[in-house]
Symmetry: C2
Subunit: 683 residues, 2 copies
């Protein structure tokens, strides 16, 4: 008797002999090859498409003949005519193995495919969604052996999909819809089955009559103090089909986190008010996303949330009062698993599974955990510093040996608040600045306008928005450029026109301001960087730098190998300017990168990959937390970091590429009234 | 070195040697002895009271000296003074074992104690509640090793109560209340922990600051087509602290089950209307019970439901339409586990665990499963027939070898409906009847009156209610008595006065009626048993008997060893009269017993004993179901059972104690108009 044919699957390289006549899909299952199927091999779903190869494969030691697979059959022909099939493709459930064969599984036929992330430096996301679609044929009821429709559905899932029936649970409302779906689908249904990563229960979240193509969707949601960003994501290929953001309506109860905690403390029912406000905004946002993407409510079956601890507690309906005072105890630091109805999210299917990432500490939340999940410092050979800049900065330092984390109260200056001409990043805001070191003249770019201010046609191009103020990245670049142009000295003082040699330095009270743009002739604003602005930036950047230094002390290092700037804001900061300012420690400039919205990416990873949830839960337990608020060295580092870039740290890597003039302006006429009084980090 | 002391626990007889100085509680735990404790051995709860014995115990081979236990200590003295302690009792967590000792664990110190049921014939319920109270001391938060309060609570439960922390989940709202409870209780709390019987998860349903004494409560609820009965039960000792019943408000949508199914079919949204109505009634009933017993909402942590399939579906929000037509497919036949909020039961704590018993078949519901759980036919050596009489009769037949079940459509005649003078069992209704075989004169009793109608003072005693009609048990006794007095013949015909010799037989159209009571002189009703009434009773009893015979055929037996009458109605039926009528098969009369409200008892067993849930789930799968609606022999049995007691079955046991005259009245003037037309069981 001839030997059984050999089948080799690529790209996995898995191989084995199977009885002649075995379908490619069965062979894949037997050999543990990742080959998708929703219909279970009935020629309906076409998810199991494969590309058989023909010819000699000396590397594998086989030669594949034309008749290695059974002939193209009627099911395949019908599918090709109705929905199309790429040349060379076969349906794995139809093609039978008759001789030695090499089978290529294209990425879109793999459940656990890798999805390349947009940023060039980013790793791929491996798909491993918790929810999958399964087509199943259910036995009809028999009066003489009565059993419930649900029990027969469980038996069918066990027989056709090897799901342990004792682990299957109906999601909310599923029992109520089951009987109609079974009868409409003539005893065939497609179920969305969700497997918990902690309890291993298999929950039926939704049910459709007959074969349902999908895809299924999930939401990755970043609840920030200021904005809520949501990404509607296809759970099959991980692609974001629609993104949107809204203001966090809690802003009306307080701009920053601590004022919201205060609101909860001072107003009975205040926490519940804020909980209702944020849930309602999330629900509306989700509904808008679904409408824009033409996705039905019942196809949105999961949501993953990341947020800082105060947002986390308010989202979950927990009074955040303990987060406002030492020892900053979280109600729960672990991940939280819920259903959509627990958060009043009517725009999702009622049993949609909610996963909230774990928090790292009372000041270092699920958003920081998501950044860590995205950047994986525990897999880094380099000592990497990850900074997520916002109203609070979350700072992570580590490598494959050890990871540390803290948060630092930078305040809102980096977001343009508490800056004389500051504004949020919106059309009309100056976002980039250059100052000529010779002439001390500035040029800048404005959000919503594609020209620099000294380019031809700028005036016309900017007319649509006007020039309305300066945003966070703009003020950072402006101060750094002023420092490089010798307009500001290392202590942060703006020099007088006679010392700086530019009439743009104008007196303002007992100090000076540098005029970036004078729009008063056209009825517009005068946009200047004042001494008070520089003091506010110094406070913010000192807090950030001090936090990073504290982690470096704890780690026992005095330099880092690379720096990752995370957060939507991180994406807009110029690494050179950030370093000139002394926001971040010295490091080769080319090794400072932006991770974009790393918290959002972490949320997407947790959404698309079930195993990533278990991983981040385990990792956060291993991250050592440093509490800046009670660490005496934080104050020392904070004071030393006040200078630009720093009073004592030499910044050799920075000075290799940037020249920093060292004027020292007379302090006789210095200090705007307010700044000195609060040269302590706001808490 | 002396040998370790020997400790013997009674009544279990468990024994072993423990190191000198071990507390009695620790010794009990080590030896697997059932000794209760809520506070974990801190001398707070006193649940671990024991009775040490002194003297010689030759049976055990030990002599116990006075100093076998450590001396009475301050904790015990404080407890005794504050709350009292029976003489001879010690606290197991305080008394240390110093020498050989025999320790008696009184029933109230056992978790798994047996609770004797009220009925003399009934077995005891063994307590094994799914929810228990645990006092636990939680570590305070540490800023330098931040972790959530919930995570520290889990660690404490693991360390102090050996609960696997990975199985612990917070119930709805628990995270929101946790922080305040911990701080109010100075880092000690009592939690109500519920262990699932299927998923083994440990859910924290409630939390109290410091030590909380309890007890906890659960509801055993029987949702009948006509009435909803609920029993508020102490989960520590299984005692019912308060019971109440209300009318099922679904009656306004249809008196019987099939008319409610029709309502759902004919009216869009009709099923949802009925669901809302029954849930609201249950919620109100639960609130009233709690108020009457002065129990707080948050102390009601479980509810167990039993009901017939249509009530089951409507309770769960499932359209019952499939139950109205062959093949009578249930949406789910398995048990259903939910939370109180899933059923809109605001009167319980939101996460209170709901357990709905499994159904046996499309016509044999969770109520029948509860009857089976109460009566345990699978443990019977006798062949036992269990009959739960209501609008539908559920019938179970079996012994330790095999159990069968069916339902039979008796219709509402047994409840007094479709009877000319019929009424529900309420004050004023005739409930018991005797007819003198010589004089043919009746005497009767009326609900709400403690005298027979021929006793002195009856007229005064009955004045409060009047005599308003005849209820189900009354009509059964009346017809059976008429048969024994020769007023009715075996075919069910009422004889004319000239044949029966009593002027109480009066013409009514072409048939006769027997006047039980003529109140017309006082403006009251004339209460008579008409030929139509007898036909209605014959239809009902034939259906019941035919169902029982069908099961006996299937079992291959032509007699049963004993009969259990279940249901509230079963409690009021006189076995002799039921057998004369031919409702039930022949059997020694002393072996016909009433199980009272067996469905309610089954619900209480499932409420108090976690293992009973797994047992009934397994048992119902093994019960063979017979579908009477499609069984041709049912019609044959039904027709043969029309005679009183039966056309062919001889009833030897009955005839041993009862004489049945055998007149045969002329059929010339027979049959009231309506009766003949529907001599088929209503469906």
């Amino acid at each position: 008797m001839a030997q059984d044919p050999l089948v080799i699957f690529m790209p996995s390289g898995k191989r084995g002999r199977v009885p002649r006549g075995t379908t490619v899909l069965s062979a894949a299952r037997r050999l543990g090859v990742d080959l998708d199927s929703v219909c279970g091999g009935r020629g309906i779903c076409s998810k199991c498409q494969v590309e058989p190869a023909v010819g000699a494969f000396p590397k594998h030691g086989v030669t594949v003949t034309e008749d290695a697979l059974s002939e193209w059959n009627a099911v395949e022909e019908r599918y090709r005519q109705k929905r199309g099939l790429k040349p060379g493709r076969r349906l794995g459930c139809q093609a039978r193995i008759l001789g030695d064969v090499v089978i290529d599984v294209p990425p879109e036929s793999q459940v656990h495919r890798q999805v390349v992330r947009k940023a060039a430096t980013a790793r791929a996301i491996t798909m491993d969604p918790a929810t999958r679609l399964l087509y199943v044929e259910v036995a009809e009821p028999d009066m003489h052996a009565p059993s419930g429709d649900f029990e027969r559905l469980k038996e069918a899932l066990a027989a056709q999909w090897q799901v342990d029936p004792s682990t299957i649970r109906p999601g909310p409302g599923v029992l109520a819809r089951l009987q109609e779906a079974l009868r409409k689908g003539d005893w065939a249904v497609t179920v969305a089955l969700h497997r918990g990563h902690a309890d291993e229960l298999e929950r039926i979240l939704e049910i459709w009559p007959g074969y349902h193509e999908g895809p299924l969707y999930g939401l990755a949601i970043d609840v920030g103090s200021t904005t809520i960003a949501a990404h509607l994501t296809n759970l099959r290929d991980g692609q974001v089909v629609e993104s949107a953001g809204v203001m966090n309506p809690q802003i009306r109860f307080g701009e920053d986190l601590m004022s919201r905690v205060s609101y909860a403390m001072m107003n009975p029912g205040g926490a519940a008010e804020m909980t209702a406000a944020v849930r309602e905004a999330i629900d509306r946002l989700a509904r808008e996303l679904a409408e824009a993407a033409r996705v039905e409510r019942r196809e949105i079956l999961e949501a993953v949330f990341v947020c800082n601890p105060v947002m986390h507690h308010l989202l979950l309906g927990i009074d955040p009062v303990e987060l406002g005072q030492a020892p900053f105890a979280l109600a729960t630091s672990g991940s939280v698993t819920l259903e959509a109805r627990d958060l009043d999210l009517a725009s999702l299917t009622p049993g949609a599974r909610i996963y909230v990432l774990p928090c790292i500490a009372g000041h270092v939340g699920a958003d920081a955990a998501a950044v860590a999940l995205s950047e994986e410092p525990w897999n880094s050979d380099d000592m990497v510093l990850i900074v997520d800049v916002g109203t609070n900065a979350e700072i992570i330092l580590g490598n494959h040996q050890r990871v540390l984390a803290c948060s630092s109260p930078t305040g809102p200056a980096f977001e343009g608040a508490q800056i004389s001409s500051g504004q949020r990043a919106a059309p009309g805001a100056i976002e980039r600045v250059e100052i000529d070191p010779e002439t001390k003249e500035p040029r800048f770019r404005v959000i919503g306008c594609d020209k620099w201010s000294d380019e031809e046609g700028f005036a016309e191009a900017v007319a649509a928005t006007g020039i309305t103020g300066i945003c966070g990245s703009g003020i950072i670049e402006a101060v750094a450029e002023m420092r490089m142009a010798g307009i500001v000295d290392a202590s942060g003082l703006i020099g007088p026109p006679e010392a700086t040699g530019t009439p743009r330095c104008v007196p303002e009270g007992r100090t000076y301001a540098y005029v970036l743009h004078d729009g008063t002739g056209d009825g517009g604003p005068l946009i200047a960087v004042t001494q008070g602005d520089i003091r506010a930036i110094q406070l913010a950047k000192s807090a950030l730098y001090a936090g990073a230094r504290l982690l470096m002390d704890e780690m026992g290092v005095d330099r880092v190998d690379r720096i990752v700037l995370a957060g939507a804001f991180g994406a807009h900061i110029s690494p050179k300017h950030a370093m000139v300012l002394g926001m971040i420690p010295d490091c080769p400039l080319e090794r400072v990168t932006s991770a974009g919205n790393a918290a959002g990416t972490g949320a997407r990873i947790a959404l698309c990959n079930r195993a990533a949830r278990a991983e981040i839960e385990a990792r956060v337990r291993d991250i050592a937390k440093i509490e800046t608020a009670v660490e005496p060295r934080f104050q020392e580092h904070f004071v030393a970091a006040n200078a630009i870039p720093h009073a004592t740290d030499p910044f050799p890597e920075l000075r290799r590429v940037v020249t920093l003039p060292e004027p020292a302006f007379n302090a006789h006429a210095q200090e705007a009234g307010g700044a000195r009084r609060r040269r302590r980090p706001p808490r």
